[in-house]
């Protein structure tokens, strides 16, 4: 399986650490809503199909990525930095493609 890291390009799954279901909402740190805390810590969406999940490129740039991946076929539909845009446009995958196209 290959995951295309927006910074590093396509990399083998061995470089990544799976951090699970990306649909969980962490309650406010001071929240005493135990229902919400329990749901956040223990309950998971576990769909057979497209799954919104978190991966860390731990063997590369170490960024966390939001990956939409099909759990029936392992097809990867999208990958994005979880932290949002990192400021410089030229450090995105679009710029990377551009750079590779030039060389």
């Amino acid at each position: 399986m290959l995951i295309t890291c927006p910074y590093c390009g396509p990399r083998d799954v061995i470089e990544f650490t799976y951090q699970g279901d990306g649909n969980r909402e962490r309650p406010d740190p001071a929240s005493q809503n135990f229902e919400a805390w329990n749901a956040y810590v223990y309950d998971r969406l576990n769909p057979a199909g497209d799954h919104n999940e978190i991966w860390q490129h731990s063997g590369g740039c170490r960024a966390h990525l939001r990956v939409v991946r099909n759990t029936l076929t392992h097809e990867i539909l999208s990958v994005a930095f979880i932290r949002g845009d990192h400021g410089r446009g030229d450090h995105t995958s679009a710029a990377r493609r551009k750079a590779e196209g030039k060389s």
Binding site: M1, D12, V13, I14, T17, Y18, G20, D21, F34, N38, A39, V41, Y42, D43, R44, L45, N46, P47, A48, H51, E53, W55, R69, T71, L72, T73, H74
Partner: protein, 420 residues
């Protein structure tokens, strides 16, 4: 009534050219309603049906299987049977399973080839040896057999094992459970199917559950690819498909992730290893089948999957650990690999419970320990369904234990399924 299996019946049939053998189980059409419908024709579902009939006299039961019987993890595992757990709730439950295993072939009149050849956990540091001692002592204090072994004894037991000091992780000892062993996985499914069928249970293959029939909150039956089936009680025993089936019941989130676990077998070899062995500095386990193939596996791939297929990193990892223990296997060849979908729970322990909806009963969260649990899982689940309350043995395996902080975390990894 079908003929008993025996050496005599084998001979008598052979003389007649094997023309008189009957199907091991019938292929009935589903009835409109049952007392109990069990979703999932795998090991656990079939065992549940068998024990419902045998222990509780409930025979108006259907087992619904989406594909072919036993197509899930009961036919996709590495066949190890053991009860060498750390925490008492697990040890008690798996020991009950062990006791059922020990008489299973007789009980089912079907040779499931349960072979108590022992399971040895190798320790590679003194600290790990102490950990295994803790576990072994925990077992002994619950009446389960366990013993520690020295490297010299281990070498006598498994001559092909590298116990030299030059190994990257030398063997300093091991924890042995002699009563552990292996069984022929498919035979367990077939034996339970035949046993349940002989007691009147309808086993219905190629029957996919597509939804639940409800009366308010209560579950009153299922809709299937072969029509609606009403039931007083609906039991779910679908392992890796738990998430999918529970979603049909409107329960979106569960303390479960479905992961793929790969397993491997080599070409047939003359006897090479007489016990089940596990590696302590990684995740690797191996035994040899009666046919001669080395059957082995390691960690789950570590991501959600329903695909019954894995990827190369685990393949490479498992083979590397295998060679670290058995350097003589470099030229032996991996013949087949396959993937099973495991229902990884948040603490690595299973769930056998009433609910979570009225009229529903749930059996899941087996991680990759489900095969050895088959008899006790069916036995406890049948009890729970019949009596509408858990047996003492499965009372700790509730669904709400996570929220209440009553987790049973044998590995101490917390709510991180890929690490259990």
């Amino acid at each position: 009534m079908m003929a008993e299996y025996s050496a005599f019946s084998l001979l008598a049939n052979a003389l007649k050219g094997n023309k008189d053998w009957k199907p091991a189980w019938r292929k009935p059409d589903p009835k409109a309603s049952y007392d109990v419908v069990i979703i999932g024709g795998g090991g656990h579902g079939l065992a549940t049906a068998y024990y419902l009939a045998k222990e509780h006299g409930i025979t108006n039961v259907a087992v619904l299987e989406k594909g072919w019987l036993g197509s899930g993890n009961v036919g996709r595992n590495t066949t190890a049977v053991r009860s060498n757990y750390l925490l008492p709730a697990n040890t008690r439950f798996y020991e009950h399973s062990m006791k059922l295993w020990e008489n299973l072939s007789h009980e089912l009149n079907y040779n499931v080839m349960f072979s108590q050849r022992g399971c040895l956990n190798l320790a590679h540091t003194p600290a790990q040896f102490d950990d295994y001692a803790r576990r072994g002592n925990a077992m002994r204090h619950l009446g389960v057999d366990a013993e520690l072994m020295t490297p010299a004894r281990i070498k006598r037991l498994i001559p092909a094992l590298d116990i030299s000091d030059s190994a990257r992780f030398p063997v300093v000892g091991g924890l042995m459970q002699r009563r552990a062993g292996t069984a022929r996985h498919d035979a367990v499914a077939w034996g339970y199917a035949r046993g349940a069928d002989r007691r009147g249970v309808d086993i219905i293959e190629n029957c996919e559950v597509t939804g639940f029939l409800r009366d308010g909150d209560s579950i009153t039956g299922v809709t299937t690819s072969r029509g609606d089936i009403r039931a007083k009680k609906v039991a779910v025993a679908v392992a890796g498909s738990t998430g999918r089936v529970m979603q049909l019941a409107g329960i979106e989130r569960m303390p479960i992730e479905s992961h793929v676990l790969q397993a491997f077998v080599t070409e047939s070899l003359k006897p090479f290893i007489d016990t089940v062995v596990t590696f302590g500095m990684g995740h690797f386990y191996m035994s040899q089948s009666d046919k001669g193939g080395l059957i082995y596996g390691g960690d789950i791939d570590g991501y959600n999957s329903y695909a019954q297929r894995g990827n190369l990193p685990i393949v490479d990892e498992v083979m590397s650990e295998m060679l670290a223990l058995f350097p003589g296997l470099a030229r032996v060849r991996m013949l087949r690999s396959w993937g099973g979908v495991c229902d990884m729970s948040m603490d690595g322990s299973p769930i056998i419970t009433t609910g979570p909806l009225p009229g529903m009963y749930l059996n899941c969260g087996w991680c990759y320990g489900g095969f050895k649990a088959t008899p006790a899982s069916g036995w406890c689940f049948a009890w729970t369904i019949a009596k509408d309350q858990p047996h003492d043995l499965n009372a700790p395996f509730t669904l709400d234990r996570f929220h209440r902080g009553l987790v049973i975390d044998d590995k101490g990894q917390g709510a991180n399924p890929r690490l259990h």
